[in-house]
């Protein structure tokens, strides 16, 4: 079996297990009247239709009209997702560019790294929910289209992993490689483009995967204070308000939102496949997260 087929199979297998656990828990709760079997201890989550709709009901809800006589929910959500994805895509590109630029700046200047890195780290500890309305208000005065503002909120989340991993990647060539470049009397730009950037590519892609998912979250959250009527953010808010009446609709929008995120990461993975030979790929995110958390510790120390 090819590795791709094996990956798909294990994905489907795990999906089936998750669905079975959801439905099993629901079935058990219904059978025992909401307690653990043989005890009087209540289950943590109620199993009725208002709390946990059947998985198939979620899928069926997608295929039904969102409102009476209206369009299919799936179409409504997909349109909202496309709208959000536009902001997220721009935010991803913007954030990645800024993150890459910061990485280059930091590797060039120890002073910039010492001065700016604490702020870069601090920026990620500020809740995005607080940042978003500020940006929206500021941009309102500047008369910027709102979806561009949302893109900036999304970039705010996306730039960080890229900056950290770019820096780490640019630093990855060993000392002898740098000395070799020195012996050729290479200019700083030649060192950057012929040694440091190619060496950083395997570090960059795991960061771009994180940035892709972060940019979707950023866009969805950014849409709320911007009161954008067309995106996934508003849809999720609406369905959350109507949760007790139609829980399957909220679950359906979560499903669509995560599919958008997965699709986005998939595009990055494809780009990685094209650009980086297998021998140089850092396969899983943990390898990217490992050095990243180490770098964070160095920053804090």
């Amino acid at each position: 079996m090819s590795p791709n087929a094996r990956r798909l199979l294990s994905f489907l297998g795990i999906l089936a297990v998750l669905i079975a656990m959801w439905e099993g828990y629901k079935w058990m709760g219904t059978a025992t009247g909401g307690v653990w079997p043989g005890t009087g201890i209540g289950l943590p989550v109620r199993t009725n239709e208002r709390s946990m709709p059947h998985t198939w009901d979620v899928v069926i809800a997608l295929l039904r009209p969102a409102r009476r006589g209206g369009e299919m929910l799936l179409l409504v959500l997909l349109r909202a997702a496309l709208f959000t994805w536009r902001s997220a895509l721009l935010g991803f590109v913007l954030g990645s560019a800024v993150g890459f630029g910061l990485g280059v700046l930091f590797v060039r200047s120890a002073l910039a790294e010492r001065g700016l890195m604490p702020h870069v780290v601090a920026s990620q500890t500020v809740p995005i929910l607080a940042i978003a309305p500020i940006l929206v208000v500021w941009a309102g005065r500047l008369n910027v289209t709102r979806w561009l503002v949302v893109a900036v909120v999304s970039a705010y989340l996306a730039f960080f992993p890229v900056a950290i991993n770019t820096l780490r990647g640019l630093r990855s060539p060993d000392a002898t490689a740098s000395e070799l470049m020195r012996s050729y009397a290479a200019t700083p730009n030649q060192v950057l483009w012929k040694l440091q950037v190619p060496a950083a590519l395997p570090y960059l892609f795991p960061a771009l995967k994180i940035a892709a998912t972060a940019s979707i979250i950023g866009a969805i959250v950014g849409e709320l204070p911007a009161s954008m009527p067309d995106g996934l953010g508003r849809a999720i808010l609406n369905f959350a308000a109507a949760f007790s009446a139609a829980p399957e609709k909220l679950f359906a929008s979560i499903l669509v939102a995560s599919l958008v995120g997965i699709g986005f990461v998939g595009v990055v993975v494809l780009a990685e496949r094209v650009l980086i030979p297998p021998s140089r790929r850092l396969e899983d995110l943990s390898e990217a997260a490992g050095p990243q958390s180490r770098t964070l510790k160095e920053v804090v120390a």
């Binding site: 002898t176 490689a177 000395e179 020195r182 012996s183 050729y184 012929k194 190619p198 060496a199 030979p277």
Partner: protein, 257 residues
Amino acid sequence: MSALALRGVGKVFNPGSDQEVRAVHGVDLSAERGEFISVIGPSGCGKSTLLRLIGDLTPPSSGTVLVNGKTPARARLDRDYGMVFQSATLLEWRRVQANVELPLEIMGMDAAERSRQAAAMLELVQLDRFANHYPWQLSGGMQQRVAIARALAFKPSILLMDEPFGALDEMTRERMQSELLRIRAETGTTVVFVTHSIPEAVFLSTRVVIMSPRPGTITEVVDIDLPEPRSDDTREDQRFFELLTDVREGLRAVEDS
């Protein structure tokens, strides 16, 4: 004008601190163009540091270094140095040919000329059939030959080599030594060569420089008057064994002191 002239060269790391190391001290050494100088001595005696002082990878604390009559910094900017380290340090994302072209690219040679030059160098180290391989597809010895081709590609006037064959097995090592001699005969490059191996030093060199540690300084210079050109027969020569003994005794004197 000599290719290399060192006068009273010293290097102190972390001066004034409790980690102060006098790595190199009072070294006088000169070499004519085309000479092959080996530097040998116990571990930590400052061989690599000496090479790095010559190659402008670290500045001296005292004394003067002249390479082709210039400061090391000037010589480096003039691309006088080819360097080979113990690890080949090839760029893994570049094919063999592109690795050899790297210095030429940096020096602004045009693509056609570059590719011709790199191909000629790969032929010199007998790896022309592997031009399109990636470094990880080659053995350690082959990778080191690529590193040598890369160092020679821009025709540097002086080749600095720090234990370039240190990681190779004995058989490969001897073959590489013969190849290095052949290449040097073809190019006429001056070589400064750091090694731990007495036979390697004697077989390759016109002079062997023996260093002692703490502080790292030259204790003896042995002239190698073996007949040229050298071949595998040289290793069986009576004079070869005498010179091995000379160098070994020089080293023993260093280690006993």
